[in-house]
C-alpha cells in the first residue's frame, strides 16, 4: 500500500507519520506499506497527471488532501466513497463545523475522512512587549492594535535579518495561506455566500490581502528570506510575535492569543483529510488503514507530535480540555469557519496564489503600488468567475 502525505514546513509531521506507520506495520506485519511526502503543488500535479494518463501516473492508495479539495477530486472521479467503509464517517463522529463542509453538496456520500486541523493564532513574548504594550489581551485583539504594537516593538536581536514578527511556514512569496486568516477576519472571502460569483475585489477581501501585503511592504516580514540559506529558520526566541497555527512549546516563554481581528473569537481553521484513491488496488485495505489512523489513540499521538488538533470529536474535545491554553482555544473554536468545499475553490486559490506571487515579486523589487493589487485581483476574479460559469 502506498501513501502520499502532504509536505509540511514542520519536520515533526513527517517524523510523526513515520512512527505512526511503524506502529501500523508492527500491528499488521503482512501489509506492506510505504509513503512519500509530496508538496502541495506536486500532489496537485500528480492528481491531474493521473487524470491525463492513468497508466503512466498511478495514484497512491491513500492520499492526504486539504479538506476543500474533496469536492473537486470526488467529482473528477479520483477518490473513492468512504462513508460505508470508515466507521467514524458512518457515525459522523466529527465536530459539526467539520461535517458541514465535508458534505456540502451530498449528505449521503463522503469522499474523505477529516484527520487533523490547525487554527491560526498569535503568540507573543511578554518580555519583549513590556514597554510597548500595556495590555496585550486588549491591545492585540484587533489588527490595528497588533499592527501598532508591531511598530513599537523592535526586533529582539540585532542580527541582520532579524524581525519582531515570525510566520513559520511562510516562505518565499506571500501565499494564500498567509492572507486568508486576515481576509476571514475582515469577514471577506473568495466567493459570495451563494457561490454564484467571485469576490476577490470586495472591500473586505482585498482589504484583508492588503493588510498582509502591508507587512511585507513595510519590512515587518521578509519575502524570499535571503539569509535562510546560511542561518536557517529564525529561532522563536528571536521574535516578539509569532503567527502560527501550531501549538508552540510551553518552554518557549510565549503566550497565546486569538488571531488579531477576531475580537469575538472564532476564525478560519484548516482541515486535512485522508482519502482513498478510486483506483486503489485494494480499496478495503486502504480504507482499513484510514480507519486505523482515525482510532483514538493513533490519532491522538500523531496530532500531538506536531502541535495540531485531531478531527475526531471525542479526541478533539479531550485535547481541548487538557490544553494549557484551553481558554484561548475555546474562543478560537467558538465560531470556527472552514474554507468552502466547492469544486472551483482549489483553483480559485491557485489564481489568487498567482496574483500574490506577482505582487510579492513587485514588493521585493520595490516597485509595488496599490494599483497593482487592484489590477491583479480584478484579473484573478474575472478568471474565477469564468470558472464558476464552467464548472
Amino acid at each position: 500500500m502506498k501513501i502520499w502525505l502532504l509536505s509540511d514546513y514542520d519536520h515533526r509531521k513527517h517524523l510523526a507519520f513515520k512512527s505512526l506507520l511503524a506502529r501500523f506495520s508492527a500491528a499488521f506485519p503482512d501489509v506492506p506499506v510505504e509513503f512519500s511526502v509530496k508538496s502541495r503543488k506536486s500532489l496537485w500535479e500528480s492528481l491531474f497527471a493521473h487524470l491525463r494518463d492513468s497508466k503512466r501516473n498511478p495514484l497512491a492508495d491513500v492520499i492526504e488532501i486539504p479538506q476543500n479539495w474533496t469536492e473537486l477530486f470526488s467529482r473528477l472521479g479520483l477518490i473513492a466513497e468512504l462513508g460505508a467503509r470508515v466507521e467514524a464517517l458512518g457515525h459522523k463522529r466529527f465536530p459539526e463545523f467539520i461535517l458541514k463542509e465535508l458534505c456540502r453538496n451530498d449528505e449521503k456520500r463522503v469522499f474523505s475522512a477529516p484527520w487533523w486541523l490547525e487554527a491560526p493564532a498569535l503568540f507573543y513574548r511578554p518580555q519583549a512587549l513590556k514597554s510597548a504594550v500595556a495590555d496585550p489581551e486588549r491591545d492585540l485583539a484587533t489588527w490595528e492594535g497588533f499592527r501598532a504594537a508591531l511598530d513599537r516593538v523592535g526586533p529582539p536581536s540585532r542580527r541582520r535579518g532579524a524581525h519582531a514578527l515570525s510566520v513559520p511556514g511562510s516562505s518565499g512569496s506571500v501565499s494564500v495561506a498567509d492572507v486568508l486568516p486576515r481576509v476571514w477576519g475582515r469577514r471577506g472571502g473568495l466567493f459570495s455566500d451563494d457561490f454564484n460569483r467571485a469576490t476577490f475585489t470586495r472591500e473586505e477581501t482585498a482589504g484583508g490581502i492588503e493588510d498582509w501585503l502591508e507587512l511585507a511592504v513595510s519590512g515587518k516580514i521578509e519575502l524570499f528570506s535571503p539569509d535562510r540559506f546560511e542561518n536557517g529558520p529564525r529561532p522563536p526566541e528571536e521574535c516578539a510575535f509569532i503567527m502560527s497555527s501550531r501549538k508552540l512549546g510551553g518552554r518557549s516563554g510565549l503566550k497565546m492569543l486569538p488571531y488579531p481581528g477576531y475580537p469575538s473569537g472564532g476564525g478560519l481553521m484548516l482541515v486535512y483529510n485522508l482519502s482513498v484513491s478510486a483506483s486503489a488496488q485494494d480499496p478495503e485495505a486502504a480504507a482499513a488503514f484510514v480507519s486505523w489512523a482515525l482510532e483514538n489513540r493513533n490519532l491522538s499521538i500523531f496530532t500531538e507530535s506536531f502541535g495540531v488538533f485531531p478531527c475526531l470529536k471525542p479526541v478533539f474535545e479531550e485535547r481541548l480540555r487538557e490544553e494549557r491554553e484551553s481558554g484561548v482555544y475555546k474562543r478560537l473554536f467558538s465560531a470556527p469557519e472552514l474554507k468552502p468545499n466547492i469544486m472551483v475553490y482549489p483553483t480559485a486559490e491557485l489564481l489568487l496564489e498567482r496574483a500574490l506571487w506577482n505582487l510579492s515579486m513587485k514588493i521585493s523589487r520595490r516597485d509595488y503600488d496599490r494599483e497593482d493589487l487592484t489590477r491583479e485581483l480584478i484579473m484573478a476574479q474575472g478568471e474565477a468567475d469564468y470558472l464558476l460559469s464552467l464548472y
Binding site: 502525505l5 509536505s7 514546513y9 519536520h11 513527517h14 517524523l15 513515520k18 512519500s36 511526502v37 509530496k38 508538496s39 502541495r40 503543488k41 506536486s42 496537485w44 500535479e45 491531474f48 487524470l51 491525463r52 494518463d53 473537486l72 473528477l76 472521479g77 516562505s171 518565499g172 512569496s173 524570499f224 528570506s225 535571503p226 539569509d227 535562510r228 540559506f229 546560511e230 542561518n231 536557517g232 472551483v344 483553483t347 491557485l350 489564481l351 498567482r354 515579486m361 521585493s364 484579473m379 474575472g382 478568471e383 469564468y386 470558472l387 464552467l390 464548472y391
Partner: protein, 510 residues
C-alpha cells in the same frame, strides 16, 4: 523504489535504477546524507530570470520529502558566490555549517530544435551548530559525489524529454489518421476531440462553429479531462466585435490583457480553410491552472489546418448526405431514408410489443392546382404542407415525402386514436392556410388533406401490410369526398356492413 531495467530511465552510481526523476533525487539526497553524516540535504533549482532558488527535495531527520520554498540568495553570500563561480562554497553560522554544491548543464532538445534546455541549481548540505564544519577536502569529496549523481540526472532529464518527444511523434501519426478518416459530423467531431484529449490531456477541449447565416458562433462539443464528451449546442455567441472574447478572436481583434495573462494555460485556435474562418477550437488547463508546454502548443497549432479541414470535410459530407436523404422543397426525408427508418421502427415495435401508427396523406386536387396555377404554386403548397407537418411532430415521429404529393408519417408508440388526433391537427392547420395566388381572381388558395391511417399490430402484422392498409384507408377517403380522415379499422368495419347490406360497389377491397 527500485525497479527493473525495463521501467526505469535513470541509473544511480551503484547501478540501481529509479522510477522517475523525483525518486532519483530522493536517492541522491539520501545517499549524500548517509555518506557525509549530514543533518540535512536539499536540492534547489535556480531560476535565473527571477534570481530565485526553488526548493524541490529535502532530506532531514531520516525522512525525504518534497517541499516548496523560494529563496533569494543574499548578494555576496556563500550561495551567491557558489552560483556565480559554479564552485562549491562553505559557510558557518549560529545555525550550523553549510556546503553549497552548484551545478549547471545544458542539453540539446531531443526533438532536434536548435535551442538548449538549461538545468541550473544547487545542493545544500547542512550540519547542526554543534557538529563539525565542512573541511575543504570533505567539501571537494561531497561535491564530486554529487557530480557523479548529476551525470545521471542529466540522463534522466534527457530521457524525460525524449519520452515527451516520442509521445509527440505518436500523436502526430495517430491524430493525422483520425483527422483524415473523420467524415460524419456526429462522429467526426467526437473523434477529433477525443483524439486531442487522448494525446494532449487538456482539462477541456471545446469546438465552436460559425453559423454564417445567423452571424453566430455556435457551440458544438466539449470534451473534459475524463474523456467525457458533451454537447454545448446551447452556447450561442453573436459574431460581433466586443460581444464576447471568442467573437473578438474569430474576428481577429485584440485579445486583451486578460487573455495575455492566461496564455500559458489556454489556447484559442481559429479554424480556417482557404482563408475563411469556420470555427474556433479552445483547449485549456483552467481547472488545474497547469501550464501547457510550449511544444504542445506548437504541435497543436501545426495541426490547426488539418483539424479545420477535417471539420469542414465532415460538414460537407453531412451536407451532401442531407441533400441525398432529404427533399429540398418540403425538408422532409425522402423515400429511401424512410424505408430504412421504417424497418428500424417496425422491428422495435415488434420486439418491444409497442404500437406503431402510419399516416398516409395526400393533398386534395394537387394535380389540378398544378395545372391551374402552375408548378410554382404547387411547390408552395407542398412547402407549406412540409412546414406544418414538421412543426407538429414529436421528436420520435418520422415524416417522409413518399412521392409527388403523397406524404407518410410514422408514429412510433402511437395508437390509432393518437394518430387521428395528430392528423386532425395537421388537416386543420393546413385548411386554415391561405396560400397567396396573385394572378387569380380569389387571390388566394386553400387546400385540404385526405388521410388514411393504419396501425400495428391491429391492422397488419408486416411492413407491407401496414402500408397497404393505410393506402386502403386513404383510397376510401378519396372515394368518399376527400378532406377527411379514416382509420383502416373503421373502413374495414364499414365495408363489412356494406357487404352484409348487399354489396356496395365503393367499399374498399379486402
Amino acid at each position: 523504489m527500485r525497479k527493473n531495467v525495463k521501467d526505469a530511465y535513470a541509473a544511480a552510481p551503484g547501478g540501481a535504477f529509479y522510477e522517475g526523476r523525483d525518486a532519483f533525487l530522493r536517492a541522491a539526497l539520501e545517499s549524500v546524507a548517509g555518506q557525509f553524516a549530514l543533518d540535512g540535504a536539499s536540492f534547489y533549482e535556480f531560476e535565473e530570470k527571477s534570481g530565485l532558488l526553488r526548493l524541490r527535495h529535502r532530506h532531514a531527520c531520516g525522512v525525504s520529502f518534497e517541499h516548496e520554498e523560494d529563496l533569494k540568495p543574499a548578494p555576496g553570500s556563500a550561495v551567491a558566490r557558489a552560483l556565480e563561480a559554479l564552485e562549491p562554497a562553505v559557510s558557518k553560522s549560529a545555525a550550523g555549517s553549510f556546503l553549497f554544491s552548484p551545478f549547471r548543464f545544458d542539453y540539446c532538445d531531443p526533438a532536434g530544435g536548435r535551442g538548449v534546455i538549461p538545468c541550473f541549481g544547487l545542493f545544500r548540505l547542512e550540519r547542526g551548530p554543534r557538529r563539525r564544519g565542512f573541511s575543504p577536502a570533505e567539501a571537494a569529496k561531497a561535491d564530486a559525489h554529487l557530480k557523479s549523481f548529476l551525470r545521471d540526472y542529466y540522463k534522466a532529464e534527457f530521457f524525460s524529454l525524449n519520452r515527451k518527444y516520442d509521445k509527440n511523434v505518436a500523436a502526430i501519426t495517430e491524430l493525422t489518421e483520425v483527422f483524415a478518416t473523420a467524415l460524419r459530423v456526429r462522429d467526426s467531431f467526437r473523434h477529433i476531440l477525443a483524439g486531442i484529449q487522448t494525446y494532449f490531456g487538456f482539462d477541456r477541449v471545446r469546438l465552436y462553429l460559425i453559423d454564417e447565416k445567423n452571424r453566430k458562433l455556435k457551440g458544438e462539443l466539449s470534451a473534459d479531462i475524463r474523456g467525457q464528451i458533451k454537447s454545448i449546442s446551447y452556447e450561442e455567441i453573436p459574431l460581433e466585435a466586443g460581444a464576447h472574447r471568442f467573437a473578438d478572436i474569430v474576428l481577429g481583434r485584440s485579445s486583451g490583457a486578460f487573455m495575455e495573462r492566461y496564455k500559458d494555460c489556454v489556447l484559442y485556435m481559429p479554424l480556417s480553410v482557404q482563408g475563411v474562418t469556420i470555427g474556433l477550437l479552445i483547449v485549456d488547463n483552467l481547472l488545474s491552472q497547469q501550464r501547457i508546454e510550449p511544444q504542445e502548443l506548437a504541435m497543436l497549432k501545426s495541426f490547426g489546418g488539418q483539424i479545420a479541414l477535417a471539420v469542414d470535410n465532415a460538414r460537407l459530407f453531412d451536407k451532401v448526405e442531407e441533400l441525398s436523404l432529404y427533399d429540398e422543397l418540403t425538408k422532409l426525408p425522402l423515400r429511401r431514408y424512410f424505408n430504412q427508418r421504417f424497418q428500424e421502427e417496425f422491428y422495435r415495435a415488434e420486439r418491444f410489443k409497442q404500437p406503431l401508427a402510419l399516416i398516409w396523406a395526400d393533398v386534395d386536387y394537387f394535380k389540378e392546382v398544378n395545372d391551374t396555377y402552375g408548378h410554382q404554386i404547387g411547390d408552395k403548397v407542398l412547402k407549406e404542407a412540409g412546414r406544418v407537418i414538421l412543426s407538429n411532430l414529436r421528436k420520435i415521429d418520422f415524416p417522409c415525402r413518399y412521392g409527388g404529393d403523397e406524404i407518410i408519417i410514422l408514429l412510433p408508440q402511437a395508437t390509432g386514436e393518437e394518430a387521428r388526433r395528430l392528423a386532425q391537427r395537421l388537416s386543420q392547420e393546413l385548411a386554415e392556410l391561405r396560400i397567396p395566388v396573385p394572378f387569380s381572381k380569389a387571390r388566394e388558395l386553400r387546400v385540404t388533406l385526405s388521410i388514411g391511417i393504419s396501425t400495428f399490430p391491429q391492422d397488419a402484422a408486416t411492413m407491407d401490410g401496414l402500408l397497404e392498409k393505410a393506402d386502403d384507408a386513404l383510397y376510401w377517403v378519396k372515394s368518399h369526398g376527400r378532406a377527411r380522415i379514416a382509420l383502416y379499422s373503421e373502413v374495414a368495419e364499414e365495408r363489412k356492413k356494406a357487404e352484409t347490406a348487399g354489396g356496395i360497389k365503393d367499399a374498399p377491397a379486402s
